[in-house]
């Protein structure tokens, strides 16, 4: 009896250990970059703690991983270069403290509170996605921490009266409006447009703004319908699009649904002339769709092709080369956003010539510069403080050159590398 009990106890313990091992990571601080372990030293070196969460598990883990890669690359470079030297002789270096948020909003609130209170993060970088960032922004503001948000385009976060949250991305309200302009310029005869989009905070915000913009331009919105984020079969939507006689489709959401949608449009040979989808097309993996990718347009926060002349930091080509060397993959705009967030922080510290949070905030308020990522300027009005007003989207299209499938910039016209492939059918 006693022996059986011991065996049973051992089994329960083993099962508990297995379950614990399979649970998402417990919140243990991870040092993701070099740098000294905090505090000031006699040589007037100050290490600033940059806190953030990464979606190492859950549905955002790919985009989030790239964003964090970009940020870590910036941090490694600045630390390897000896940090930032202020006029009083202080050398500022950086240390990252990050946790796995499991792509989960509740975890984000819990972990950002921990970053702000227990880890004493000096500054914060947002998680990936608008939904998670909205949760993190509340905490940043509550604890008075400056937070740069990247991978988060929803406008709503910046209309809550926050004063310490600054957006890197072009906001959702301007995400798809360029596609409407591109369509109008390419074929003024098109009138019937369908909006099919993921029911998420980000996609809904983007599409609502684009729909209003299209309606103002005289388009007839023949279908306006959202889909569940887990949707993989777009048959019902495709049938509705065909039934409504739509000539152009705008919408999408994130990578998985966007690539599935594009593939099924191709397989069903849907007779539309123009398709622009969010997020998925600019991702390098979109090329896995083969011929189904041809002609699909996507807005991108940044592309290696984009030739902005930076007045601070590396050029696009230099960033791309450094990223390829570090991670052996092409950077996506998520990677560029992460890196650019670090650059903006660096520039703010240099401009402020201080690590005082209020001075850094003031420097961010006054910032007006061009990075390899594009122009950066923040709204300073009380109604939308921190909203990005400098940066704008570029639009890429997958085109075939012989047998080679590649991305081309097709909008805006002054940055275009190829003529738009039109109509699709």
């Amino acid at each position: 009896m006693k022996r059986s009990f011991t065996i049973l106890l051992a089994l329960v313990l083993a099962l508990s250990l297995m379950l614990a091992a399979c649970q998402p990571q417990a919140p243990a601080a991870t040092e993701t970059s070099g740098g000294e372990s905090g505090g000031e030293t006699a040589a007037k070196t100050q290490t600033l703690v940059i806190g953030f969460t990464a979606s190492q598990t859950g549905k955002y883990n790919v985009s989030s991983g790239r964003q964090v890669n970009g940020l870590n690359l910036w941090m490694k470079q600045i630390n390897d270069a000896g940090g930032i030297k202020l006029s009083d002789g202080t050398v500022v270096t950086f240390k990252a403290v990050s946790y796995d948020d499991e792509s989960n909003k509740d975890r984000v609130q819990e972990l950002y509170t921990r970053l702000a209170t227990e880890d004493n993060a000096d500054m914060l970088i947002s998680p990936y996605s608008s939904g998670l960032t909205a949760a993190a922004a509340v905490i940043a503001e509550q604890y008075g921490k400056v937070m740069l948000t990247t991978g988060a385009a929803s406008d709503a976060t910046y209309k809550q009266g926050y004063t310490k949250v600054f957006q890197m991305y072009t906001p959702a309200s301007r995400y798809l409006t360029g596609a409407v302009d591109l369509l109008a310029k390419t074929d003024p005869s098109v009138k019937k447009v369908a909006f099919v989009y993921e029911n998420s905070k980000f996609s809904t915000a983007v599409v609502e703004a684009a729909k209003d913009y299209a309606a103002d331009k005289g388009y007839d919105v023949v279908l306006y319908e959202g889909y569940d984020p887990e949707t993989t079969d777009f048959g019902p939507f495709i049938n509705k699009i065909q039934d409504a006689g739509a000539e152009a489709i705008l919408g999408g959401g994130h990578f998985q649904d966007g690539s599935a949608f594009a593939r099924q449009l191709f397989e069903k040979n849907v007779p539309v002339k123009f398709v622009t989808l969010l997020v998925a097309p600019p991702e390098p993996d979109f090329a896995d769709l083969g011929d189904a990718a041809v002609g699909i347009i996507g807005p991108s926060q940044w592309e290696p092709l984009a030739a902005f002349k930076p007045d601070f930091g590396p050029t696009g080509k230099e960033f791309e080369a450094a990223y390829m060397a570090a991670y052996n993959e092409e950077p996506s705009y998520h990677s560029a956003g992460g890196y650019a967030a670090g650059l903006v922080l660096e520039k703010a510290i240099r401009d402020a010539d201080s690590t005082d949070p209020d001075a850094i905030k003031a420097a961010l308020d006054n910032m007006d510069l061009t990075l390899f990522f594009g122009k950066i300027k923040f709204d300073t009005s009380p109604e939308a403080h921190g909203l990005q007003i400098g940066h704008s989207m570029i639009y890429i299209q997958w085109q075939k050159d012989g047998d080679t499938l590649g991305k081309q910039v097709v909008w805006p016209e002054d940055g275009a590398t190829a003529k738009v492939l039109y109509p699709l059918h």
Partner: protein, 285 residues
């Protein structure tokens, strides 16, 4: 009308796949009263089996389906022997926890190896347009395979000795043991077949839809609805249940927003549980 016809055809083709995905779950549930919470991840492993064989070894996806079936059978037997066998007579909560642990282990390992990055198998077959209806080759082939697998399973369960053993154990394990049926071996085989059906479903889905390691969860949920709809342990019931669900998913969006589909599905789930708890084809249970 064209719109409805096209939606019906889409729903029907999807229904065959739902049916085969549910068959594995209902077989295990029906034979050993175990709700296999690892069903979704096993479906996802079927998807990855075909993907890896196709991408890295160039093995055609439909040959990959066969290999995925063998893999699923072995995996199911291993899961049974390690995680389920010891709790088969324990209260339901124990087997739920055991299969949930397996679910967590597969998802954890899968995420570590494959990430949650979506994958596609670049397989393009013909597509046929019949008036307003466009039939995609990959879906038609998958549906045909689903029908063949159902027929084979039906034959196995009702015409072979091993199949009869399974049905005997499902009906009354103690009585089956009394007449010399090795129940533990039969249960292991049943779990293996259940997992095999899940990997076949996953492998077929992967030929026309993108997936990641979490993708099986959706089909697991649908399998519960189908299991209740079609009855437990009855392959034809599962197939018909799958078809009903597929048709619902095709038809409902023609009248309302697509987001209402899961609401209607789960209302149906509750109604069937209340009105006909053994399912439309589960009278014998």
């Amino acid at each position: 009308m064209d719109f409805i016809l096209a939606s019906l055809a889409d729903g029907l083709l999807l229904g065959f796949i739902y049916g085969i995905a549910a068959m594995g779950l209902t077989l295990i549930w029906g034979v050993m009263n175990v709700i296999n919470l690892a069903h979704g991840p096993i479906i996802a492993l079927g998807m990855f089996t075909v993907y890896l064989l196709f991408t890295f070894l160039g093995i055609p996806p439909y040959v990959g389906v066969l290999l995925a079936a063998v893999f699923g059978l072995l995996l199911g037997i291993i899961i049974y022997l390690i995680a389920v066998q010891g709790v088969i007579d324990a209260p339901h909560l124990s087997s739920l926890l055991a299969t949930f642990s397996v679910n967590m282990i597969i998802i954890g390992i899968g995420t570590a190896i494959f990430s949650t990055s979506p994958r596609n198998i670049d397989l393009q077959l013909w597509s046929v347009s019949l008036g307003p209806v466009t039939l995609q080759g990959t879906r038609v082939v998958a549906s045909l395979i689903a029908v063949l697998v159902t027929a084979a399973l039906y034959y196995f369960l009702y015409r072979t000795r091993q199949g009869k053993y399974i049905r005997a154990v499902a009906n009354n394990r103690a009585a089956a043991e009394l007449v010399g049926i090795p129940s533990n071996r039969v249960l292991a085989l049943s779990f293996g077949i259940g997992a095999m059906l899940a990997t076949i479903a996953g492998a077929l889905i992967a030929t026309f839809l993108p997936f990641n390691i979490l993708a099986g969860g959706t089909y697991e949920l649908k399998s519960f609805v189908i299991g209740v709809l079609g009855g437990l342990g009855n392959p034809v019931g599962a197939l018909v249940g799958g078809l009903i669900l597929g048709l619902l998913e095709g038809i409902v969006p023609t009248f309302t927003q697509t987001t209402w589909v899961p609401v209607i599905e789960f209302v149906l789930f509750v109604i069937i549980l209340l009105v006909r708890p053994n399912g439309l084809f589960g009278g014998e249970q």
